[in-house]
């Protein structure tokens, strides 16, 4: 219930934010910013898990998240530099960051198995939401071919993480 709510909020943030409202397509600089922010959020969540969790499996998963998202974001930085695009902050990025810092605060109060469960469940929900946004909004809106292709790789990575998180969640039960 709780998880479903946070996913719903994230979905509202991504789909219903003023920046993207009224059918306005996000621009490439905005898309780059949103995608990069989404990666940073997951890295920060993973770093919290690496500090707090005692579970070998959860820690390994968190390490995978840091490694992959840092690799994607590194590629994103190379690409925006090459394309001479300056990522542009926008309401969607801001709302995502705000929601993520609330989540970090909430998870910081939990410990042990309760933390592990909440972290992994949130990872499933978060990746699901980001995948939805990538598929239905960010990828179709991207006008530059290289940006689109990086987002498509990002989508496959995120889909992999969603399945990986689901496996970890099943193991924790």
């Amino acid at each position: 219930m709780f998880i479903r709510c946070s996913a719903a909020i994230a979905a509202m943030v991504l789909f219903g934010s003023p920046a993207l409202a009224q059918g306005a397509k996000p621009t490439d600089p905005q898309i780059a910013h949103i995608a990069y922010t989404a990666g940073v959020i997951d890295i920060n969540a993973a770093k919290q898990a690496l500090q707090k969790s005692k579970s070998k499996e959860v820690k390994a998963f968190a390490q995978d998240m840091v490694r992959d998202h840092e690799a994607v974001n590194k590629q994103a930085l190379v690409l925006v530099k090459k394309l001479n695009v300056t990522p542009e902050d926008n309401d969607t990025s801001r709302a995502l960051s705000k929601q993520a810092s609330d989540k970090l605060a909430e998870l910081s109060k939990l410990n042990g198995a309760a933390f592990d469960k909440a972290y992994v469940n949130n990872e499933v929900a978060y990746h699901k939401t980001v995948n939805g946004a990538l598929e239905t909004q960010l990828i179709p809106s991207a006008s530059n071919g290289e940006l689109k292709s990086l987002l498509q790789t990002g989508l496959k990575i995120f889909q992999g993480h969603e399945q990986h998180a689901e496996h970890v969640a099943a193991d924790l039960k």
Partner: protein
């Protein structure tokens, strides 16, 4: 009865043929499979026991080639490759532990 004789000048050729004949079946193949943009290609490969499978990871992400039946678990760091010598026959589904949406199959003949 006439004896079968090989003219002297053909002897090196004949022995070369015999040599190749003896070596080839023993010389196991190396099969290359790439992982690029989170896609394993070819997704299905037929090989023989004794063949070596080399997975070439062209991504900037680490992958693994992990058999569902536990036969192998090869780590493939970013931009690196890994290998495994096939030991037993069977049809083996494998995937990447980090990105379980990456799946493929090895058909191993005896």
């Amino acid at each position: 009865m006439r004896r079968l004789t090989i003219p002297g000048r053909l002897l090196p050729v004949a022995s070369a043929i015999v040599l190749v004949w003896t070596i080839v079946p023993a010389c196991a193949a190396t099969i290359e499979i790439t992982m690029e943009n989170l896609v394993i290609a070819p997704a299905e490969v037929t090989a023989k026991v004794g063949d070596t499978v080399v997975w070439i990871n062209k991504d900037v992400f680490a992958h693994t080639a992990t058999a569902k039946n536990g036969d192998f678990d090869v780590n493939l760091p970013a931009k690196a490759s890994g290998r495994f010598v096939l030991k037993k026959a069977g049809s083996v589904d494998y995937y990447c532990r980090y990105h379980p949406n990456m799946t493929a199959k090895l058909k191993i003949e005896p």
